[in-house]
């Protein structure tokens, strides 16, 4: 951690840019197939609001492991996991949470309709709650998310052919929407298992990884 901190202090400002955050009253979409690391990214975005109060995760599959959230900096006593396998209840449960919590990360079941998602977006705006939507299949209706992050590719480091262990990942994202200034941007996130998630420009990715190791 000390090495990482030194490296961050010495790095150019662009290397230490924080990951786009969950903003109050805004919808953030995390779109991409499972396995790209978007769940962990979504959980890490809860770390900041969780410092101020409770946050909730709507877990549709019942698979969510809170250890990943804790490693990403979410306080265990501020993380509430709501398991909602029943699709008919999903919208009401998410709406109920948005009424009183500052940030909600919700997996979106495959059958959730566009009207329902837009209602939730409007509710998040009214209640000034940050809503992170992670569709389990497909994408989100156009214009719903203030910022959409599309998972493009993931690269894991640390594991070799039968040796080592997974230590770090590089997640390539495409950012779109009003939150990205209306222009599509490509960014890369490095995650080494601590809460020091950082955005790095693509060209600087390799040197930054070497220095932080």
């Amino acid at each position: 951690m000390a090495e990482l901190a030194r490296e961050q202090a010495a790095a150019p400002a662009a290397l230490a840019r924080p990951v786009p955050g969950a903003e109050p009253g805004r919808v953030l979409g995390l779109v991409g197939p499972p396995g790209l690391g978007l769940t962990r990214l979504g959980l890490s975005l809860l770390a900041d609001p969780a410092r101020r109060g409770p946050v909730a995760v709507v877990d549709v599959r019942g698979w969510l492991c809170p250890r990943a959230a804790w490693e990403a900096g979410v306080l265990p006593e501020h993380l509430v996991v709501v398991r909602c396998p029943e699709q008919g209840l999903w919208g009401r449960v998410t709406a109920a949470l948005l009424e009183g919590l500052p940030a909600v990360y919700a997996e979106v079941p495959a059958g959730a309709g566009e009207a329902l998602l837009r209602r939730l977006g409007a509710l998040a705006r009214v209640r000034r709650a940050a809503l992170i939507l992670r569709p389990l299949r497909g994408g989100l209706p156009s214009g719903l998310a203030h910022l959409s992050l599309f998972g493009e590719a993931v690269r894991w480091e640390g594991a070799g052919p039968g040796h080592g262990q997974i230590t770090r990942r590089w997640l390539s994202l495409r950012a779109a929407g009003r939150g990205a200034g209306g222009v599509e941007q490509v960014l890369e996130v490095v995650d080494d298992g601590t809460d020091a998630l950082r955005v790095v420009p693509r060209l600087a990715a390799a040197p930054a990884g070497r220095a932080a190791g």
């Binding site: 690391g37 709501v82 398991r83 993931v154």
Partner: protein, 480 residues
């Protein structure tokens, strides 16, 4: 003492037509004609207007209502000192001393009834019981004459749990088969507190007739805040602005004491030296905005009744008592957000059931799933099953998989000379780019536990944790 129709006592309320008073889009009061059409307090405005299209909707004006109610409060206060205004139309009167002075409950009630009828006209309902909660319900049950409750506990026992007014808790209680306050009061207090937290404890006390008694504690004089105006303020808006800053100072001063007031005494001194005082009460601890609002209402009431001659020279606020559950932070940053968060989670719990809203804390273990101890939200966390500080050989290093299936799921892996070569993901086979392990878990063979080897497998579609046990491969986690 309660006027159910106080909000409707205004000159713009049309006689002979259905009428409702609405605040924040919710029906606060309605007259008999609207009630006959199905309009009820608490209903959304749109719903009420659908039920009764002819209803006349009036916007609530709490300041005007409070100003009009001041005459009633003053009339009662001339008989019994230190009355408490809960809201315009609802007044609590501590009668312990007055009963002895006037020679019994009935003579006291007769005098109060006469004074109220003179100041506020007919329509008041009087209830006499132990504590404000039961007294309010007794007033609601009263008709033309007063309702004097001899046995508060027995009176409460037969009432429906909905009188508690906490929607989520009431829904959960009904779901559990608890429909009356008597049934709630008969439950073990520890069980109710464990299930519903502080709100449940409060409800259990109320259901058992143990209303919160106001027992003013000696507070440091420094907690009283005041503002002196030179020259005296004649403009109500200026006074209301000062009230907001005073409310902020009052709450800020209480913060270090860990309390929030349920009652606030508003005191105004006029330029001529006349001092007026009124206590406001709230079921929930007062926040800054609520205190400022009450002060504004009260000042308007006094100004309109000519009670502050020469203008306002001094405005003073003091907490009459402190709540022991006020601003002790637990989940939220402040009492209001904590309350909102609790309500939101309770609503979610009512929808998905108690097993669906969970919190977790770290504990020891080898598998990712073992390292998490779940417990229901709102209940105290049990003692860890596995010591977090123990070594746990074979434990996987971080980062942990973000997704862990609740039960082992079969995973097809092709092996090439002892190394994983391809993984089947859905309908396609993904080549293994890298792999690490095995982390061997020998298992407690003496209780029949199988040995298992765990591997981290990296493909272009993601990284997975798989477990090989008994010659078969299972998915143990996804590094999503």
């Amino acid at each position: 003492m309660w006027f159910p129709d106080w909000r409707l006592r205004r000159p713009d309320a049309p006689p002979g037509e259905p009428c409702q008073v609405v605040g924040n889009g919710v029906v606060l009061a309605r007259n008999g004609l609207a009630a006959a059409a199905g309009v009820a307090p608490g209903m959304r405005r749109r719903q009420a207007e659908t039920l009764c299209p002819a209803v006349v909707t009036l916007a609530a004006d709490p300041a005007a209502e409070a100003a009009a109610f001041e005459a009633v409060a003053a009339a009662v206060e001339s008989l019994v000192p230190r009355v408490e205004v809960a809201e315009p139309g609802l007044l609590f009167v501590p009668v312990a001393g007055a009963v002895g002075y006037y020679g019994g409950e009935e003579p006291l009630v007769d005098r109060v009834t006469a004074a109220v009828a003179e100041a506020g006209g007919p329509g008041a309902r009087l209830g006499l019981a132990d504590g404000p909660f039961a007294a309010r319900l007794a007033a609601a049950a009263a008709g033309e004459g007063p309702h004097i409750v001899a046995d508060t506990r027995a009176f409460l026992a037969g009432l429906d749990v909905s009188v508690l007014g906490r929607e989520e808790m009431v829904a959960t209680l009904r779901w559990l088969g608890v429909t009356t306050l008597g049934a709630l009061g008969a439950l073990p207090r520890e069980a109710v507190a464990s299930r519903f937290g502080p709100a449940g404890l409060e409800a259990h006390r109320l259901a058992g007739g143990e209303d919160r008694r106001v027992q003013p504690r000696p507070l440091p004089a420094a907690l009283t805040v005041e503002e002196r105006f030179d020259p005296p303020l004649a403009d109500l808006e200026q006074a209301a602005f000062a009230a907001r800053s005073l409310a902020h100072r009052l709450l800020a001063g209480l913060g270090p004491w860990g309390g929030a007031p349920h009652r606030v005494v508003v005191e105004a001194e006029s330029a001529t030296g006349m001092v007026r005082s009124r206590t406001w009460r709230s079921a929930d601890p007062f926040g800054e905005a609520e205190v400022a609002e009450r002060v504004r209402w009260q000042l308007r009431a006094w100004v309109e009744s000519g009670g502050v001659p020469g203008g306002l020279a001094v405005l003073r606020l003091s907490p009459a008592d402190r709540s022991d559950r006020g601003r002790q932070l637990h989940l939220g940053d402040d009492a209001a957000s904590e309350l909102e968060a609790t309500r939101a989670l309770a609503r979610a719990q009512a929808l998905v059931g108690p097993e669906g809203v969970l919190q977790a804390r770290p504990q020891g273990g080898r598998r990712p799933g073992e390292q998490v101890q779940w417990h229901r939200w709102g209940e105290p966390a049990p003692a860890p099953e596995r010591d977090l500080r123990a070594p746990w050989p074979g434990r996987l290093p971080g980062p942990s998989p973000a997704l862990v299936p609740p039960a082992p799921r079969s995973l097809e892996v092709e092996w090439d000379d002892g190394s994983p070569a391809r993984v089947r993901l859905g309908s396609r086979w993904e080549p293994v780019l890298a792999w690490a392990g095995p982390w061997r878990h020998t298992g407690r063979w003496w209780v029949g536990e199988e040995a298992a080897d765990r591997y981290q497998i990296v493909t272009s579609a993601g990284a997975f944790l798989c477990e090989v046990r008994g010659g078969k491969c299972y998915l143990a986690g996804v590094y999503d």
